[in-house]
């Protein structure tokens, strides 16, 4: 008999079964989390791809196209379609880089800001409900947990990105004084699929 009739609390007893539980919870959590913006998106005739683009451009103004590609890990073509719609419909504007005039720095317009806020609202609420009851230590545990799930080779990019807003996903001090509206390390790492 593998288990007694009342296995009580069973706080992650052992092995792969518990990991599988976490993996599935992770899947279910993300499944529901990503649905949060859908009502708003429908009103604008946009999809989740637009959500992601608007989110990152809004939160990291001045992002370059290459940065976005590295964040989303999709191809230029795939981004181009979505980005074009957002630019054409005046949610995002592109501005020539002042140091490097090949660059097209991305910024949200007023409309874009409004959309970004509408989209993030339900997601922020979802996380607030989850996070607020927790102690500071528990919150750090979660931050560490999420960060350590990120692919080794991508962690530096995430750190560098977040440093732009003066944040640090590791708990260590942010790398530098944030230089608002500047892009992050151009260490374009080619990743598959």
């Amino acid at each position: 008999m593998a288990q007694t009739s009342d296995d009580k609390i069973e706080p992650l007893s052992s092995g792969e079964e518990n990991i599988l539980t976490l993996i599935e919870l992770f899947y279910f959590a993300y499944r529901d989390f990503t649905g949060d913006g859908d009502d708003v998106l429908d009103q604008y005739g946009f999809g989740r791809a637009h959500h992601r683009v608007v989110h990152f451009v809004h939160h990291y103004p001045g992002l370059r196209v290459a940065d976005l590609l590295n964040i989303l890990k999709i191809t230029k073509q795939s981004l181009a379609r979505v980005l074009k719609q957002l630019v054409d419909q005046d949610f995002i504007i592109q501005q020539e880089g002042s140091k490097d005039r090949r660059e097209r720095l991305l910024f949200t317009t007023e409309r874009g800001n409004s959309l970004a806020k509408q989209l993030s609202e339900p997601q922020i609420k979802r996380f607030e409900k989850t996070i607020k009851p927790l102690s500071a230590e528990e919150q750090v545990t979660i931050k560490k947990f999420l960060f350590s799930l990120i692919q080794q080779g991508n962690r530096h990019d995430v750190i560098t990105l977040m440093a732009q807003n003066g944040h640090s996903p590791t708990g260590k001090p942010a790398l530098e004084k944030p230089v608002k509206t500047r892009h992050y390390a151009p260490n374009a790492e080619i990743t598959g699929k």
Copy 2:
């Protein structure tokens, strides 16, 4: 000046900015996590949709089609295409329900088991690396965190599903003695998109 030059540890100091950091870490973590199976999938000519189906059928043998639809929150048509390929290529078999002969209970074949194991291996490793260094309390924190991100109306389904394998995502004892190879509550809740 909003912040001093060295904000040191800044353990989720306040407000929405920290929530946004968590949200983005969640996104990056899931982005990399879902890529884990891709190499194996490519070898079989399958996609991530196949991965999800094989995973859940393997972990919850005897799942009904309706259960799978409720887990994945996709339409019958969308599942049908993927499921048909898996059945035709002998990764999954369908078995008439003994109590209710309308049901088609789903099981993985030997091939299906093998594929499921290959697919879960890198994901389990990713989670093991993340989880193993943590204390039991921290692990529980993470379980609670993920569970509470799940939509209220879906939590019961998740509990009922996991109870089949004698697990409980909440830490409370699993609902019932698991009755292997049986489906869970048919409380089909219609959700959008």
